[in-house]
């Protein structure tokens, strides 16, 4: 058989492989035989690295010399919720330096939860002549000086997408750094910035006729939005900034002009923004609110009015002040809804329940195509979850955020049966977040039924280690497991350490795992990095094996312990196997 395959000239294999685009399929292709591995690797253009410490830039470059588009992810997911200390790591600098030194013709870079410096952006902007697309999601460490370098030096830039980053804004007008010759922009998103140079923005929009996506920030007032839309009626994705008018009678003229301009924007398919919005301005957008994705600034009856017009809505992100009644309007109007995210208005359950299980059940019965849910609420019942499971068997993502240890308030039972119904009915479930009160029974259900589950988040789980074992044993496709404030300990951690090499990472914080348990994992599995984060007890950590660790993050890697860990992160491999290391191998 193998000899027959060798009769295919490489060009034929290359041509066939070009049609294989998903990362996983490409990875599978490369495992068939050495020939296919070699043919595939020279043709691979898009590389996805889910954990920047799993591999080194040098090995990336060696294996995929033709890479043009790179995705890198840094910090663990729980960094979003302040569980990972600030200087933990995830620096992009070594990657950019290595790529710059090589002959890689990088064109696209997408980073998530990484630390990016102005210097990195500067080197990036100067090193790759065909660089086209930069997407930064939840990154930090850079200022508008870095953006200025990108604007000034990337002559063929098509996309600059800044999503939810922490960016220090300097007095420079980075937008002015786009040269007059820059006419290739297709997508620009600066919604996370506080300021912007309006004149430069309008000029930029005017000279970029291919601009399809534009997401503005709060500093862009309504008048400027109207002028921008005049110049860019071809927009497909629009994120507004501030959608308010002052109480000046002249502003009625602006509003009228805006309405007229919007009617000319026939291509808008996705709408977001509305970081603040005055109700009387909203009728202007009624003609285009086909796919309203996020409108934190629109509330109450205005939001309901808007939603009644959005019959084709597929994706909706809103605040929970919409209430159950509002969700019922969504359910009766938005029959094509696929993704719903309901975020909390108030930081902590402040007494009044904005949305409850009633709203969720209504959504599920009105929107059977729902496949992605993020829902913050204060109470949930098993009956409701069972109904939701029955109505919506297509969940790929199901994230429920309840007050911890809250049982079903009607029956006072844990929510095992409810979540069990969800995993049983949604056979393609890939991502699940549990909250509320549950027992190890829910993990039994997950282990038995959630065959496609890739990511599981667990918070405030009581009971015994069995729960974690059910999951590790049952979920064959599990890639990421993150657990906080739960009573899982060494028994669960150590039962099947080989499993962790089949996963990307495991996070356990405020659990019952001990230093001794973590050391055991590290000793048995040289291709895992076992990192202990001990912020609070730097001096006091007693090096006793039975001491519980505050935070443990372990991940598979081909390149051993990282060199850039800060002093409060202890990589056990390093400490165990380095002569004279901090922790003696006992």
């Amino acid at each position: 058989m193998l000899t027959m395959m060798n009769y295919f000239p490489d060009e034929v294999l290359e041509h066939v492989f070009d049609f294989v685009t998903s990362h996983r399929d490409r990875n599978a292709v490369s495992l068939v035989c050495k020939l296919w591995y070699n043919v595939e690797r020279f043709r691979r253009q898009q590389v996805f690295i889910g954990n920047c410490y799993a591999i080194s830039p040098e090995r990336l470059i060696a294996r995929f010399p033709g890479v043009k588009a790179l995705t890198l992810k840094g910090k663990p997911h729980f960094a979003d919720f302040n569980l990972v200390p600030h200087d933990w790591g995830g620096y992009v600098q070594p990657w950019i330096e290595a790529l710059a030194r090589s002959r890689i013709g990088l064109e696209e870079l997408r980073l998530k939860r990484m630390v990016v410096s102005d210097e990195s952006l500067d080197v990036l902007s100067r090193s790759f002549t065909n660089f086209k697309s930069l997407v930064l999601v939840s990154c930090e460490g850079f200022t508008t000086d870095g953006l200025a370098a990108i604007a000034a030096n990337c002559r063929f830039l098509r996309e600059l997408d800044l999503q939810e980053n922490e960016i220090e804004e300097k007095k420079n007008h980075w937008l002015c750094c786009f040269p007059d010759s820059c006419t290739s922009l297709v997508s620009l998103n600066f919604a996370c910035l506080k300021e912007i140079n309006l004149a430069a923005l309008e000029r930029l929009v005017a000279r970029n006729p291919n601009l399809k996506g534009l997401k503005l920030n709060r500093a862009v007032p309504l008048e400027a939005l109207q002028r921008i839309l005049m110049r860019a009626p071809q927009l497909v994705d629009l994120g507004t900034g501030s959608f308010v008018l002052d109480r000046d009678p002249d502003d009625f003229e602006t509003y009228r002009k805006l309405r007229a301009t919007i009617l000319k924007c026939r291509s808008i398919r996705n709408l977001s923004g509305f970081l603040e919005a005055a109700p009387r301005c909203l009728p202007a957008i009624y003609p285009i609110c086909l796919n309203l994705s996020y409108a934190a600034g629109i509330n109450g009856s205005e939001l309901i009015k808007l939603i009644r017009l959005c019959g084709k809505l597929q994706r909706l992100w809103i605040l929970d002040c919409i209430g159950d009644e509002g969700l019922e309007v969504v359910a009766s109007t938005c029959k094509d809804l696929q993704e719903l995210r309901v975020f909390p208005c108030h930081p902590v359950g402040a007494g009044h329940a904005a949305v409850t299980e009633t709203g969720l059940v209504a959504i599920s019965s009105g929107c059977p195509k729902l496949n992605s849910l993020l829902y913050y609420c204060q109470q949930m019942t098993n009956a409701a979850l069972i109904a939701v499971a029955k109505n919506c068997p297509n969940f790929i993502r199901f994230t429920l955020c309840l007050d911890p240890i809250n049982p079903d308030p009607v029956t006072m039972q844990p929510l095992d049966e409810g979540f069990g119904a969800i995993v049983r009915s949604s056979k393609r479930l890939q991502r699940l977040s549990l909250s509320g009160l549950f027992t190890e029974r829910v993990f039994l259900y997950i282990g038995m039924y959630a065959e496609q589950l890739e990511m599981l988040s667990i918070a405030f789980a009581g009971e015994s280690d069995k729960g974690m074992l059910y999951v590790l044993n049952g979920c064959k496709k599990l890639r990421k497991l993150e657990i906080r404030d739960s009573s899982f300990g060494d028994m669960a951690l150590l039962r099947d350490v080989g499993k962790y090499e089949t996963m990307r990472s495991l996070w356990m914080s405020s659990c019952d795992v001990t230093l001794g348990g973590c050391k055991t994992v590290a000793k048995k599995m040289p291709r895992l990095n076992v990192e202990i984060i001990n912020e609070n007890d730097r001096m006091k950590f007693a090096h006793e094996d039975n001491q519980k660790v505050e935070k443990m993050y372990l991940y598979r890697t081909l390149v051993g312990p990282r060199e850039d860990a800060p002093e409060f992160v202890w990589t056990l491999e390093k400490l165990l196997f380095t002569p004279g290391g901090l922790l003696e191998d006992q």
Partner: protein
């Protein structure tokens, strides 16, 4: 529903914290973060484990990323407290005042504030019993028309109000406003007192 080999021992259901044996809040491990009661909060009797906004608040809960925390929470607060200052004039008073409409929940609340501002009585009553009150609160709306306060819902009022005036009843007749309960000629109807 039991997998073979894995005994389904459903342990006794305890509503306790991880690691704790008693079904009450116990801080077993100083490093663990716990919930604490709101002292004196008897409103919600369902459970003692309510998250609070005290310094013992659990880190990272609810799990909302910091970007969204900053934008949503501030947004709501900002919207709720975005200033809506309008000028208020009162017939006979030498100076105009300014009042922030967003600080008030409704007409009676506003009326009380106006009474305090101008050190007078009767505005609140005027809302209930227009015919007999000494003062008539009116406002100029966004179209430039002078309207009697109290007719439209509060939210609609604060959106359209540009300024306020507290008029004397004697002036009102000349102004052309129709007090409630009068016929179109401005004569009072008989109203049971």
């Amino acid at each position: 529903m039991e997998k073979e080999g894995l005994g389904l021992e459903i342990t006794e259901l305890r509503l306790g914290l991880p690691g704790g044996s008693a079904p009450i809040l116990v801080d077993k491990n100083e490093k663990k973060r716990v919930f604490s009661d709101i002292s004196g909060d008897l409103d919600n009797s369902s459970t003692d484990w309510k998250l609070t906004q005290t310094k013992n608040q659990t880190v990272g809960w609810p799990p909302v990323c910091s970007y969204r925390r900053k934008n949503n929470f501030q947004e709501k607060d900002r919207l709720e407290t975005s200033k809506m200052y309008v000028k208020v004039s009162m017939d006979g008073a030498p100076f105009l005042r300014k009042v922030d409409l967003s600080m008030h929940k409704g007409y009676s609340d506003l009326a009380e504030a106006l009474e305090k501002l101008f050190d007078c009585f009767g505005i609140g009553e005027s809302l209930k019993d227009m015919e007999n009150s000494e003062q008539v609160p009116i406002y100029e709306d966004k179209d430039g028309d002078w309207m009697l306060m109290g007719d439209v819902p509060w939210e609609m009022f604060i959106e359209s109000c540009k300024r306020l005036r507290i008029m004397k009843r004697s002036e009102a007749k000349g102004f052309g406003l129709q007090p409630k309960g009068s016929d179109h000629k401005g004569n009072s109807k008989d109203v049971a007192k």
